[in-house]
């Protein structure tokens, strides 16, 4: 195709932000509408890409490559494959919905808000599409500042603390990553991610490979987030404004997961595998994230914080799946199919979690808007008073739990099924997480919010507005439809994962 569609997707939000810059800041409605219009473009293009991606061929498509910084040997290279495509769609959808929702909820400093939102969108797209290390790093960093602003300026009472903590934690990880990138460059003489993966740097030297691996891993694990470097997340999520949380949980966390597959797994599969099965530090972390995350949820009575910890727990599944896949690759032979399955599950979980947690945060926004509290114990009997909300919340929660028939089921199933074949012990322990998840969903949320006696206080609560419904329905629909028929998404992930495992196993 002649049109550099990936660049258009990435830079349209930037163009939009610059356009907004020119508008006077009191023309709030114009700004909000324009931002929304801008986000439509990547949304449409994302679906166009989906339709045009050749699944039979697989591999990187729609690639663009230009000279960028010759002195550094860095090129401007974008590309899309089965792994990044659903994530691009996810990003575009969530960004669109967030912008839509914000049109109705954000009243203060509108111009800066929407500019930040658009810049963030650009950063996210860029990370998923970059095939050059330097470019990847640039977009990675670029995404930090808008999120920082979103939290710090429109967030809750402890927003400065949360914002700075978020920024510093992530930055600390990325500087380590920067060094690792340089090390890889010096070894392979290229900044191209694909070429580096093909070259398999340090394959002969375990110590170097391990050092580089850990540098990358830590950076991405902070973002994931994985225990024990997850502590920035609860604060950031709780204090962020609604749409900040949606994008943070919905997309930003996936940057970490995506990064894990694209870089450390592709470049250092043996090391990844080693630490997945021989000295299984990684699965241990994953499992702790899952179980500990879920257990902490049970003790949470702030709804937002609860969902935050649930993210820790759910992203643990992703890590578990990737570990399972790595272990399989390491073991080779007949373990390969399990590896495939685990990786597919992990990738699917990325998509699923994005949809479900995005939805959960929107719903939190809905209830907070009305009740001005997130204290679960303060609620009660809302099921009868705001049934629409109840229904949506129920679906979303169960999807996040992994109830069969909803989207979450498939991802968790594949993660477990795949990991069972390679790292069975951890798969089983991880399974415990589901029990606790069910626990907190049913007890903390459903029981306390919706069941029981209705309270005086909430007698006047209004149900969802049209625009709130409009925001949630696409997500809920996805949960339902793909819950029953996950094949389109699964196939996409599968093409990517299969080619990955095949190339890695040499």
């Amino acid at each position: 195709m002649g049109i550099p569609i990936l660049s258009v997707i990435t830079f349209t939000p930037l163009a939009g932000a610059l356009l907004l810059l020119l508008i006077r800041k009191d023309q709030e409605e114009l700004i909000a509408r324009l931002a929304l219009a801008v986000t439509v473009v990547p949304l449409i293009l994302a679906f166009v890409l989906w339709a045009n991606y050749d699944q039979a061929a697989g591999g990187m498509q729609f690639t663009e490559q230009h000279e960028w910084i010759p002195v550094l040997n860095s090129t401007y290279t974008l590309g899309l494959d089965g792994l990044s495509l659903p994530l691009i769609v996810l990003t575009a959808v969530l960004s669109f919905l967030a912008t839509f929702y914000s049109n109705f909820t954000i009243k203060e400093r509108v111009k800066e808000y929407f500019m930040s939102l658009l810049m963030l969108e650009m950063g996210m797209f860029g990370v998923f599409l970059s095939l050059d290390f330097v470019l990847f790093y640039v977009f990675w960093e670029v995404g930090l500042v808008p999120m920082l602003l979103l939290i710090a300026l429109w967030g809750g009472p402890r927003r400065e603390y949360a914002a700075i903590k978020f920024f510093l934690f992530t930055l600390a990880g990325s500087v380590g990553m920067l060094l690792a990138i340089i090390a890889v460059y010096l070894k392979t003489d290229t900044f191209s991610i694909l070429e580096a993966a093909a070259a398999q740097p340090f394959a002969d030297n375990f110590t170097y490979a391990a050092t580089a691996f850990w540098a990358f891993f830590i950076a991405f694990a902070i973002k994931l987030p994985s225990f024990p470097i997850h502590t920035w997340l609860p604060d950031a999520h709780t204090e962020a404004p609604v749409c900040g949380s949606v994008l943070l949980a919905g997309v930003l966390l996936k940057l970490g997961a995506y990064g894990l597959v694209r870089i450390p797994l592709s470049l250092f599969p043996q090391v990844f595998g080693y630490y997945s099965i021989v000295v299984p530090i990684l699965p241990v972390l994953a499992v702790i994230s899952i179980v500990y995350g879920a257990m902490v949820c049970m003790a949470q009575w702030d709804l937002k914080k609860l969902i935050a910890y649930s993210s820790v727990s759910h992203m643990g599944y992703v890590l578990l799946g990737i570990c399972g896949g790595a272990a399989g690759i390491y073991l080779g032979g007949d373990k390969l199919s399990s590896a495939n399955l685990a990786l597919n599950g992990a990738a699917m979980q990325m998509f699923t979690h994005g949809i479900t947690t995005g939805g959960l945060f929107f719903l939190v926004g809905v209830i907070y808007d009305r009740a001005h509290t997130r204290e679960l114990k303060a609620f009660g009997g809302l099921g009868t008073q705001i049934p629409y909300f109840y229904g949506m919340m129920l679906v979303t929660c169960f999807a996040s739990l992994g109830l069969p028939g909803l989207i979450g089921f498939w991802s968790e199933f594949f993660v477990f099924r795949g990991s069972m074949g390679t790292i069975p012990l951890f798969a089983i322990i991880g399974g415990l997480g589901i029990v606790f998840t069910a626990g907190y969903i049913l007890w903390n949320i459903v029981q306390h919010m919706f069941l029981g006696e209705p309270k005086e206080r909430w007698a006047q609560l209004s149900d969802m507005e049209w625009w709130e419904k409009a925001t949630l329905w696409p997500l809920v629909a996805t949960m339902l439809v793909f819950g029953i028929y996950p094949t389109p998404i699964l196939n996409l992930f599968n093409t990517a994962m299969e080619s990955l495992t095949h190339t890695l196993l040499r």
Binding site: L72, V145, A152, E160, I164, L179
Partner: protein, 486 residues
Amino acid sequence: MNLPILSIIMFSPVVGALIILALPEDRHTDIKATAAVASFISCLGSIYAFFAYDHTLGGIQFEEQMRWIPGLGVSYHVGVDGISLPLVLLTGIIIFSGVLVSWVRDHRPREFFAMLLLLVTGVFGTFVALDLFLLFVCYELAVLPMYLLIGIWGTTRKEYAAMKLTLYLLVGSSLALAGVLVASVASGLGTFDLLELAKVNFGPAFQAAIFLPIFIGFDVLGGLWPLHTWSPDGHVAAPTAVSMLHAGVLMKMGAYAALRVGVFLFPDGARQWLPWIIILTAVNVVYGATVAFAQRDIKYVIGYSSVSHMGYVTMGVATLSQIGLAGATMQMFSHGIMTGIFFAAVGLVYRRTHTRQIPELGGLVRKLPFVAVAFIIAGLSSMGMPGFSGFVAEFQVLMGVWHTYPIIAVISLVGVVVTAAYILRFTYMIFFGPLKEEFQDIPPTSTLEKVALMFMCAFIVGFGVLPQPMLAVIQTGVSELLAAIR
């Protein structure tokens, strides 16, 4: 080339200073206008020179040479290459912005602007000099106006800071002078010409002995730890425009001279000592950042931040690699502008709020949005955020260092994180949060101040997004220098 552009750039400020001294004390506007015109001519000249430089051809361009003191072998010999040209540009930008930012200064403006212009002549001269005697004259020419500028128009402990700065810098430059004299005589050529001396092959033992006093002597001005202590006090005490020049340009003068004289003339000595010096630079980076974090006075924060960021410069030089040196030069330019913005912003805030204590400030973004944005841009660049010139610089330095001294690279990353921490924290504390009662009525940013800030920000963002023009120039200079010292 017909127009002696470098001499014009260099002497326009002196001519301006002389005219200003001749004006009556009370003609404030005329004085300031003269200063603005003189600095604008230099600025314009430096921009022209930058874009007119043919980087495919490389080498020394815009060369001028005239006999001066034949008895000593001294000539007036100037020229720029890929390394000095960005610094000339930097000086032009900063002096022009500095004059604009100082427009409201009404206490003895005549001497102030005359001294400022005299100072900048010395700076320009140092960067373009190709004769060591001329370099020294210009180098030291810059020191004395500093003393007066800080001592008369400064603030906190100005006399102490001014004297400390002057003495420190003079000790450093005196040592370097001694070294240079020895080298010139030892060469047997009876000349002070840099290019001639560079062709001489001094013995390795001689080089090792002479490199250290020259490099360290000059790099005192570059803020090399532990000889940096003059810098924070100097930064804090100096008036705004002087701080901008001080941190933005003067410190680069030291690092540049250390490179141009120390490394260029005595590469074997450099190769011997730099592996030790690089350890000091790592301390610069981390220590500077850590101490900055603990400060309450915003100017001290920026002062220590300068110490930290200058560490990257010497670090890059110490790698003696193409990319490390390129990063060092880029960092000189980038940090120069960035710190110019910082000090300008701080100066504007101080002028209105009369306090520099961070806990006493807050919420200023509502009253001074322009200043806030400029500050944030500079802050992001200082953190090494992509999209700003600081990233391009630090990335290259890190690449250079990682290749040869990986541990140092890892250590300096701590500096990066700490830098981000204090930048974020202080940006928030100064510009966001609640606005104090007493700041409700502070005047907004004036047009001149906006122009100065925007002018500087344009370069940070411009070269951050499109670093190619700058990098091309720097690359030629660096590769030629490296080729010459092989």
